[in-house]
Amino acid sequence: MDLAVAHIRIDGERCVSCRECVEVCPQTRDSQYPVYAWGEDGLPRVANPESCIRCLSCEAFCRARAIVVDSEDGQGWRMPGDPRAETKCRAIF
């Protein structure tokens, strides 16, 4: 089992401060070591990345696509999609 710590990147320019990441993260609400904390600048901040269970909820629910949860090698934990969808997404401008 891969026990590497998740690398969570937050793009501050994209973030719209909707707080959804903080709300949906199962390891943040009522947690002693929350993954996310609300920063004073109005943006979420990764407080304890080692608590992350890599459910990718924050990445999926982020309305501005500002969060990327990545593995150490940069490959991430992506599920394979429909080949036609992948081809189409690669070709869209």
Binding site: R78, A85, C89
Partner: protein, 298 residues
């Protein structure tokens, strides 16, 4: 580079964005040979071209024949506009039978003997032929089209890592107003506040970026999704535009998702206005587009 513009069944709006490019349009026709463009030139036959901008959808057999011929004569084919990329507004016609659709449009007394037989199911252009690049938008924004053409005419068909309209929106999400579900017809949105948090249906979180989020951030109009679904809707984990928007509206209004869903009277037009014809969304369960489509033989 030899360039052509071909229009299938469409409103031709995407062609006219080319005219609104102003100075760049003169550069375009000066540096490249525009060999076929029905709105510019009196040229009847589509010659062999290097780059073909194709707008509109296949609505009948005639469109299909033209599309097939165009694919054979074009080196690179670009789907221009949401109709060609995702089916667009014409895809909404599949919600009723063809007979009923024609009656709704042309009245009870009309006869359709001369009408060309339509396709049984409307599909985006890439379901029929291979497409090299997509530029969605209804119509695509001028700056976006200019950037695309600059790269495409230099020989490289561009693609971009898409985010969502929210990532470009100038409005910062405020705490939910909890005023209940609202419509543009009955309520005036407050300036500078997130429309979704105010209880309006805004498709920004699920729509591809690139438009500069003009509607929600400059004009106070909720995003309708004209740039089509973003990557996260088309790829795993397969977000459903309908369920996702209802969930966000439920969070903003303090109502249950079911109560919000009952108040959203026309889910197909609200959530899938520009992508009802996209086959990638039709397969999705639950909450895919299949339940909105008229089934043949029923």
């Amino acid at each position: 580079m030899r360039v052509a513009v071909l229009s299938l069944s469409s409103c031709t709006g995407c062609q006219y964005v080319l005219l609104s490019l102003e100075e760049y349009f003169y550069t375009l026709i000066g540096e490249n040979a525009v060999s076929y463009a029905p709105f510019l030139l009196d040229q009847k036959e589509l010659p062999e071209v290097d780059l073909l901008l194709l707008e509109g959808t296949v609505r009948n057999g005639d469109d299909f024949r033209r599309l097939r011929e165009a694919r054979q004569r074009a080196e690179k084919l670009v789907a221009l506009g949401t109709c060609a990329c995702f089916g667009g507004v014409p895809g909404l016609a599949d919600m009723v039978s063809e007979e009923r659709m024609l009656r709704m449009r042309y009245g009870e007394g009309a006869t359709f003997e001369q009408a060309p037989p339509g396709v049984k199911r409307l599909l985006p252009v890439d379901a029929y032929v291979s497409v090299d690049a997509f530029l969605p938008g209804c119509p695509p924004g001028e700056e976006l089209l200019k950037d695309f053409l600059k790269l495409a005419l230099s020989g490289n068909l561009p693609s971009r890592m898409g985010a969502t309209v929210c990532s470009e929106c100038k409005v910062t999400a405020s705490p939910p107003s909890r005023d209940g579900f609202r419509r543009l017809l009955s309520a005036v949105p407050e300036d500078g506040k997130c429309l979704l948090e105010q209880g309006f249906i805004c498709m920004g979180p699920l729509t591809r970026d690139g438009c500069g989020a003009l509607c929600p951030s400059s004009f106070g109009v909720p995003c309708g999704g004209c740039r089509g679904p973003c990557d996260e809707v088309l790829l795993p984990p397969f977000q459903d535009p309908c369920l996702e928007t209802l969930r966000r509206l439920a969070r903003a209004t303090g109502l249950s998702p079911k109560a919000v869903g009952e108040q959203a009277k026309d889910p197909a037009h609200s959530f899938f206005k520009y992508c009802l014809a996209e086959p990638l969304l039709r397969r999705r369960r639950p909450g895919g587009t299949a339940r909105f489509l008229y089934r043949l033989g029923e």
